[in-house]
């Protein structure tokens, strides 16, 4: 008679792949995961609490520091929420510039993910190659805004920097480069049999699960949900064009909801971003870039305003949503709530990890492109039982890739 017992496999809080702290505890029986649990909050800094003690413009800069990768998503949702609450509207030119910056950010964020997932599988040359391509858009963002990250570009009621002819030309040249580069990326990712074997049917998410667990962004779209704020409730320059959600059923004709579908969605969204940026540059309206250039006056308007607002933005990882309320006594929000896409998307780990092989855990975790722009209080977690180090898991993941490669390549 054999006794089966399960191993507890902790991943995180220090995650070697993502450089951001979260803890996934997977109960494994042999090679299979039977139960998965997530503990978050290792990065909780109480940013909302700090924001409620600052004025609205300081809070805007604070919101930019929530996420280090998609650093424009939170300011975008925050300025939309404040404008909604105080009834302000950004001038058309500013709306177009905002959209251009947001789409440039989507390009670099998606390329980042493609590199990370390749690295997790053991394709390190692919990581170096994709990230080398990513540098172009980072340089462009630095040229346009002055910084590679934390662009400080948005302001309540507009943007802070205008685009001149030289900058527009630089964006156009960059887009030509990315059209070519994305074609090469598609060739590499979609034609490689090992990549396909390693991602097809890994971390399957059904449409029903995506709905029930409130999944957003590329994660939800890979499960076949046509859910994209740029399509459903278009804002800024998106409202002038017809953006359509990128879903796998339009690309391959079927929905699997696996890691391969997510790769497809992200690759095709880069093409979509290039189109949107070029369309914005074509139609870029003239005019001012700020609804209220005098910031003291802007703060006074906020101080006199009473009301609440919701701001939303389709960030690279999904829906970012901010809620603010002003009570007419202070020039900052009295209530501020931030919801990042990973807040929702981490919900799916509990389901997609069950039944997965240990070697597939890194892919299933990387699948949603998690971004722990949530929260920090240092916590030491001590647990009994047997524990397997993450390096072991990654080694298994890479071995599986090599095994499949040998089988596929013969």
């Amino acid at each position: 008679m054999t006794t089966t017992y399960t191993y507890s496999l902790p991943i995180g809080p220090i995650h070697p792949a993502l450089k951001e702290p979260i803890r996934v505890v997977a109960e494994v029986e042999g090679e299979r995961v039977v139960r998965a649990d997530v503990k978050r909050g290792f990065a909780h800094r109480g940013i909302e609490f700090m924001g409620m003690k600052r004025n609205a413009i300081q809070t805007l800069y604070l919101s930019e520091r929530i996420c280090g990768i998609c650093s424009i998503s939170h300011p975008y949702a925050f300025v939309k929420a404040v404008e909604n609450a105080i009834g302000m509207e950004a001038p058309p030119r500013a709306q177009y510039i905002r959209t251009i910056i947001a789409e440039l950010e989507r390009i670099h964020s998606h390329i980042l993910w493609l590199g990370v997932i390749a690295h997790e599988m053991g394709f390190d040359p692919l990581l170096y190659w994709t990230w080398k391509g990513r540098e172009m858009v980072m340089d462009l963002l630095e040229y346009l805004t002055g910084n590679r990250v934390n662009y400080a570009m948005y302001m309540i009621g507009g943007v802070r920097r205008d685009l001149n002819e030289k900058k527009i030309r630089a964006i156009k040249e960059n887009m030509n480069y990315y059209r070519q580069f994305n074609q090469e990326m598609k060739d590499v990712f979609m034609s490689d049999p090992t990549y396909k074997a390693r991602t097809r049917r890994v971390s399957l998410l059904t449409r029903k699960d995506a709905l029930e667990l409130c999944a957003v962004g590329p994660t939800a779209r890979a499960a076949g949900l046509r859910m994209d704020i740029r399509q459903d409730q278009p804002y800024d320059a998106y409202a002038d064009m017809d953006v359509r959600a990128v879903v796998p059923q339009d690309i391959t004709g079927e929905v699997m909801g696996d890691a391969y579908d997510v790769t497809l969605v992200r690759l095709y969204e880069i093409d979509q971003s290039i189109e949107i940026i070029e369309r914005c540059l074509e139609d870029l309206p003239p005019g001012p870039i700020l609804a209220e250039p005098n910031l003291i006056k802007l703060l006074m308007t906020i101080k006199r305003s009473e009301g609440e607002g919701v701001g939303r933005h389709e960030a690279p990882r999904g829906e970012v949503m901010h809620y603010v309320r002003f009570d007419g006594t202070r020039d900052g929000p009295v209530a501020w709530k931030v919801k990042a896409p990973s807040y929702n998307n981490i919900n799916i780990w509990g389901r997609v990890l069950v039944g997965a092989e240990i070697a597939d855990i890194p892919i299933a975790v990387g699948y949603i492109d998690p971004c722990m722009c949530c929260n920090d209080r240092v916590a030491e977690v001590r647990r009994g039982g047997r524990e397997l180090p993450y390096e072991e898991v990654r080694r298994k993941c890479r071995e599986k890739t090599m095994r499949i490669k040998r089988e596929v390549m013969g």
Partner: protein
């Protein structure tokens, strides 16, 4: 459509409703945001009403200490997946501090568990029917009866060393 259905379903439990049109883009095409103030008794009926239009997406669940009582804000979106059709619906209601209990949404929307766990630890609201009552963001050894978002004696002001 949403507003009529809510009025019919809630009756006197609906306190007031405001439809906000938000213009966007150079052509100023607008989308709708519906702000609904309800009584706490009508909350589940209001959410069930949204299920008529498909599975509603829960965007934000937040709360605020208003001094006398607590105010909860639920932001849903309906009619998504259709270009330009989506409507944002915001439910808000007050609950007394003496009995901060609301029904949990997890039987209907399992993903709401994350949101409810956060509000539970931050604001001390009890969700009836919520199975997972562990801390979400706060550490597991967080003291009982301390809520960071409260503005009364259960606040954590004495635990905060330096915040400006």
């Amino acid at each position: 459509m949403v507003v009529e259905d809510l009025k019919k379903a809630l009756g006197p439990l609906l306190e007031d409703v405001r439809i906000q049109d938000i213009p966007e883009g150079s052509k100023r095409r607008s989308y709708q945001c519906v702000w609904v103030n309800i009584r706490k008794e009508g909350f589940l009926t209001a959410v069930r009403t949204l299920f008529r239009y498909g599975f509603p997406h829960l965007g934000i669940l937040t709360g605020e200490d208003m001094g006398e009582d607590l105010r909860l804000v639920y932001i849903f979106k309906v009619f998504y997946e259709e270009p330009r059709e989506e409507v944002t619906v915001v439910f808000s209601f007050h609950i007394p501090k003496s009995e901060p209990v609301v029904p949990s949404l997890t039987p209907m929307i399992p993903g709401a568990s994350t949101n409810e766990r956060e509000i539970r630890e931050m604001l001390g609201v009890e969700f009836r029917g919520l199975k997972d009552k562990r801390h979400l963001f706060l550490p597991e050894d967080w003291p009982e009866g301390k809520y960071p978002w409260r503005k009364d004696e259960t606040n954590v002001e004495d635990m905060v060393k330096r915040t400006r």
